[in-house]
């Protein structure tokens, strides 16, 4: 965990008021989300399926076009970059997908797969590339015999190692892992988590780790961000989050992850909502329909994102929650 450069340096990745929708804005995937990721930290992004987690990852890579908002990488807006800067930036941001059996090309050997990013970004000559490929294989724990084999000749854990090697070979500053261990068996998952922990420690790489599994997030994240129906409801340091999350939704998520039904939880099957509530309606809290701590104001007014640092001055990193329960604190503060 890297805390030294948190204070002065600007965040490596800064997302400001990002909104993203599909089907002519009929379906809001991401709704005014602001997020920070400092260099060397790992941010765990959690939420149920459909919360907008993957849409954020895709927006960071400029694979989809947001409706509004900015994504700054090292202080530069990636949506306003010229092609040259964009290419350079893409080298610094790499992605690992959920299922390696479909994210690796079945017709390329491991060596071909690993060489392509080097050729694309014109990194080194042939000799240097060969060295780099051998080095990265060692880093992810595969032997050199893997070079001439095809993805189907590997187990799923080995395939995910290859996918991670492909992402790492360009020396990225930011690794986005979108449910990268979710489809793996627990024993393989443990091996891949060990590998990621080694990368954090030895390479100081920043990771945006998207997962619906809080136990996995606990294992590797420094900070936790919680999304619900496209909105960011909370961003907290992991220790604070896991010893007591701030938002009522986060509390229920944590309870479910611990195999308990949250206390005060409404009986109706809220998870079975067939249609998403419209998030375009800014006059309520998105979670007010199911919130056990609902107050009258929650249905009248969308809560603001409250910085809750002042109670915990020693806490580093973003610490904020979007909930009316924290209005009082704010008012007293001023």
């Amino acid at each position: 965990m890297n805390t030294s450069n948190l204070v002065n340096t600007p965040p490596l990745l800064e997302i400001r008021d990002l909104s993203l929708s599909f089907h002519q804005q009929a379906q809001v995937a991401v709704d005014r989300v602001s997020l920070n990721l400092a260099a060397g930290r790992t941010l765990g992004l959690v939420g149920a399926s459909g919360a907008g987690k993957s849409s954020i990852a895709r927006a960071i890579l400029r694979l989809v076009k947001p409706d509004s908002g900015e994504i700054l990488f090292k202080g530069k807006d990636i949506y306003r970059m010229n092609p040259h800067d964009l290419k350079a930036t893409r080298q610094r941001i790499q992605l690992v997908f959920q299922d390696p059996s479909v994210s690796l090309s079945p017709r390329r050997t491991v060596e071909q797969t690993l060489r392509e990013p080097l050729q694309h970004f014109a990194i080194g000559d042939a000799d240097h590339q060969r060295q780099k490929i051998r080095g990265i294989l060692q880093t992810v724990g595969l032997d050199q015999g893997a070079l001439n084999r095809y993805p189907h000749q590997f187990s799923s854990g080995q395939q995910q190692r290859i996918a991670i090697a492909r992402a790492l070979i360009t020396n990225p500053d930011l690794l986005i892992a979108d449910e990268a261990v979710s489809s793996l068996d627990v024993s393989i998952q443990a091996q891949i988590l060990q590998l990621i922990q080694m990368l954090q420690k030895d390479f100081g790489i920043s990771i945006l780790f998207i997962s619906h599994d809080l136990a996995v997030i606990r294992q590797i994240a420094d900070d936790v961000a919680v999304m619900y129906q496209g909105q960011l409801l909370e961003q907290s340091p992991a220790d604070q989050f896991f010893s007591g999350p701030s938002h009522p939704y986060s509390k229920s998520l944590l309870s479910f992850a611990q195999g308990k039904t949250p206390s005060g939880w409404p009986d109706d099957k809220w998870y079975l909502e067939r249609t998403r509530q419209s998030t375009g309606d800014a006059s309520t809290c998105v979670f007010s329909g199911y919130c056990p701590d609902k107050m009258p104001v929650c249905e009248r007014l969308e809560p603001a994102m409250h910085d809750i640092h002042h109670k915990n001055q020693h806490v580093l990193g973003p610490y904020c929650v979007k909930c009316h329960l924290y209005d009082e604190v704010k008012i007293n503060d001023h």
């Binding site: 187990s155 627990v186 024993s187 136990a215 944590l254 479910f256």
Partner: protein, 322 residues
Amino acid sequence: MTTPALKVTNLSVWFENGSSRLTVVDQISFSINAGDATGLVGESGCGKTMTAMAILGLLPESGVNVRSDGIEINGRDISTLNTGQRRAVLGRDIAMIFQQPATALDPVFTMGQQISAVYRRHTGGSKQQARKSMLQALESVGFSDADDIAASYPHELSGGMRQLAMIAMATVCKPAVIIADEPTTALDNSTRALILEQLKHLRKLHRTAILFISHDLAVVRQICRDVMVMYCGRLMEKTDCQSLFAHARHPYSAGLLSCIPQISDTQPPPIKSIPGQIPAPADLPLGCHFAPRCNRAEAQCRTSIPQLDCDNGTGAACFRPL
């Protein structure tokens, strides 16, 4: 002594590849009583799904060999049935819940049509009766708007709803046994909790015996009383969940448990993993299949096969248990 709802004796599944034999399920035996749930856990490729498919008789007839000394449902052997006889059993006496409801359900029929079809196939009842039972099945899995769901096509439902609808389909004839193959693996935590609640509820309601297949021990613990740990086609340990979590006796079970990430207030210690990889079915080691990855293995483990000693129904197939 009561007759178990499901009793499997010495079930083996293997492929023949020229002169060599690839064994994927190796002589496994177990039984589940009515109203009980037993978990079958292990990593991908260990033979869990093969076991399920072999019990149901759904493996293709050519290429795959299935042998057993009996697969009994409430005392009746279904392993010797022909295809026609088997069709009468599947869905009525034993049903399956698959991992991916999106691919297991038929996209061109409504949920109501699909569930009613199962009912009518087995009972020959009228359309009205079928509709009534179908709606009851949907209500029993927790849908308050069963009419609405019945009129929906699978793609109109969310993943969790589809899985519930498939459970309704599996239970519409109130079978004695349900095999659930990774029914919650594709779902997020809150939906998973709901599905597990519904399965528990149905188990009590109809006294259904459930064989719950999963790679996730934490989930198995939430729903099953007993658990079997499978590795490379063999049962390594058979015990109740409480004992397994308190004191796993097989080193493989203990290794699996240590791989589960835990949620704690403080920064957890780095996660542990089992060294090495699962051997391919073509080059399984002699003796105990887990021996090459086991830090307790000695000479005997590499030459002879430890048997699952099950005097009282529990035990570990290990020469040097923990």
